[in-house]
């Protein structure tokens, strides 16, 4: 469905089977499929955890926590069953990578889930896919059924004596459910409202049992690490930022698409070389480096290595790999409004700072963009957003606040330009001159 792109700088690890028919189990086996899980079956659980830990693999969903470390928090002995939960509720604006993994390489996710299960001593895995991705859920259903038919899942997998079941699960439209504790609530058949932590899911998760929750890209990376070794994977990226990453380039670039690049790849090069530069030779204004919840970077800040630590140092985040590029014709007030409109829509309403904060911010930004703003609003927007930070059960409040704060701080002049009833200075440029690119 979604078209594929390529660039010579790409290092294909997770995407190496894209476009090669690997949804077919036979084809997947020809392409080294299910070798990693067989290797892992012969390893001690601690050895699997250490291998993943040493590879420097960090959560590809956004938080960037060391995956092996996360697995090591699961208690060895547990009176309740342990679970592995694959988070395929991809819905961070700017992000469209898990979609390609499910579409082209569903067995890699299944394999990753089994290996995670072996590492933590679990016998059950769930693959949660967002409701809008119905065609991907169908691909996954078939992949799981095929794996059962060959004895790769179920009782005594690969004749090892180890039992492991994997089940699919579909969502029904909710950004909030991508947050790990809300994801568990949703899987349990409830409203996706976050749980207070601690206890963390690794100790008390699904139905009270210890649960490992990883993003689909994270889990799809695991088989490659088991086969290629921690050292090889770690060396693909800078220290503590192992491997590669699927970067979803979108917005005002000539060649948008999902590219797999080594961690630490330079953002400027990513925009101007990999993605073919800005459409119609216009100037760059800003970049959202890792999905809509990450603080924006200005055109002067894009000469940066795209890894977790470099972006954190620059006051932003690598997030989910969604790189949205904005050119000079973009109104940053309108952009902030669109982001806030999204978070207001998606806030589950459970905690007040997020529910009320996103609503007030949306209303203020809307009025402001329409020319009804007063000078005090600019500081109010920032003040409201800052008061949401760290005061909510889950990171959705932060996700709404962080980009807003960065836009007010870095593009204050654009807010000033909307004052005193002046019409949006960009309205003409964005709605009339911007071509719809094919």
């Amino acid at each position: 469905m979604a078209s594929l792109v390529s660039h010579p700088d790409e290092v294909k690890v997770v995407s190496k089977r894209f476009g090669k028919g690997a949804t077919s189990l036979d084809r997947y086996l020809e392409l080294d499929g299910y070798k990693a899980v067989q290797k892992a079956l012969a390893m001690q659980p601690d050895a699997i955890v250490n291998e993943v830990k040493n590879s420097g693999l960090r959560g590809r969903g956004g938080a960037g926590f060391n995956t092996g470390m996360k697995w090591s928090f699961v208690p060895k002995q547990s009176p309740k069953p342990k679970y592995v939960l694959c988070n395929g509720d991809e819905s961070e604006p700017g992000t469209c990578k898990d979609r390609l993994i499910f579409e082209h390489d569903p067995h890699a996710v299944i394999e990753g889930v089994i290996i995670a299960g072996l590492a933590v001593g679990s016998h059950t895995g769930y693959i949660y896919i967002r409701g809008e991705y119905r065609y991907l859920l169908e691909i996954m259903q078939k992949a799981i059924a095929d794996a059962y038919a060959r004895g790769f899942l179920g009782k005594n997998i690969f004749g090892s004596g180890y039992d492991f079941d994997v089940y699919w699960h579909g969502g029904a439209g909710a950004y909030e459910v991508g947050e790990e504790s809300a994801l568990m609530e949703s899987l349990e058949g409830k409203r996706g409202i976050p749980r207070i932590r601690p206890p963390f899911p690794a100790v008390v998760g699904l139905w009270g049992g210890p649960t490992v929750i990883n993003n689909a890209e994270t889990l799809a990376s695991v088989p490659h690490i088991i086969l290629g070794g921690a050292e090889w994977y770690a060396n693909l990226g800078p220290p503590k930022n192992g491997g590669t990453r699927l970067f979803c380039l979108s917005g005002h670039v000539n060649k948008p698409g999902v590219y797999e690049l080594p961690m630490g790849y330079n953002l400027k090069k990513m925009i101007y070389d990999v993605a073919g530069g800005i459409a119609e030779g216009r100037k760059l204004k800003a970049v959202v480096p890792g999905g809509s919840s990450t603080p924006v970077l200005t055109a002067n800040e894009v000469d940066i290595a795209m890894d977790f630590d470099s972006l954190a140092k620059a006051g932003s985040m690598l997030g989910s790999g969604g790189v949205v590029v904005l050119d000079e014709t973009t109104c940053m007030v309108r952009f902030a409004l669109q982001i806030m409109k999204f978070y207001q829509h998606e806030s589950c309403g459970w905690c007040i700072p997020c529910r009320e904060g996103t609503d007030w911010l949306k209303k203020t930004l809307k009025r402001f963009h329409a020319g009804g703003g007063v000078r005090k609003d600019i500081d109010n927007i920032q003040y409201l957003a800052e008061n949401m930070l760290g005061r909510t059960f889950c990171p959705l409040g932060d996700a709404a606040a962080m980009p807003t704060i960065s836009i007010v701080k870095k593009f204050r002049q654009e807010f000033e330009d909307h004052l005193e009833g002046r019409p949006c200075p960009f309205e003409k440029g964005t709605t009339q001159e911007l071509p719809v690119l094919v």
Binding site: G131, E132, G189, S250, G322, Q338
Partner: protein, 147 residues
């Protein structure tokens, strides 16, 4: 599916969506039936329905046109496309055409950012859209729906 989980309730969200696919919306009878089968109250079920954006208790058109206007699509002209849809179908956000063929919805990110602007018609993705492509797609649905 019930055997996949330790609790019956866990099947609720996917079950509701599959049930909705049959008629395009969730009926009172359907909700009652699901509640009974899963040992839940009707209120429990409605509580869940109201949370998920894809679930609805209101009838919709045969083809639900969902235009994404989130950031990546917005930057590539989604607002214009949505306006165009409104004019073409003669309905606004969450409206349904008089013949029951189409309903229109402005939706949040559908995961097509690198192929923006995009829309989903029921579950089908339509990407790298412009007016012509959108018109063509809707005309085809109209033809298909009339058969």
């Amino acid at each position: 599916m019930l055997t996949h989980y330790p609790t019956k309730r866990s099947v609720l969200v996917p079950t509701l969506l599959y049930a909705q696919d049959e008629l395009g919306y969730l009926t009172d009878e359907g909700i009652q039936e699901i509640a009974t089968r899963l040992d839940l109250t009707e209120l429990d079920v409605r509580n869940v329905i109201s949370y998920y954006s894809m679930l609805t208790t209101k009838p919709r058109g045969k083809y639900n046109v969902q235009v994404c206007t989130n950031i990546a699509c917005m930057l590539r002209g989604a607002d214009e496309l949505f306006d165009h849809c409104k004019k073409k179908l003669g309905v606004t956000h969450k409206g349904t055409t008089a013949d029951g063929m189409f309903s229109l919805e402005e939706v949040e990110c559908i995961g097509a950012c690198s192929w923006a602007p995009a829309m989903q018609v029921n579950y089908d993705f339509h990407e790298n859209l412009d007016r012509e492509k959108l018109d063509k797609a809707l005309d085809e649905y109209k033809k298909k729906g009339a058969q």
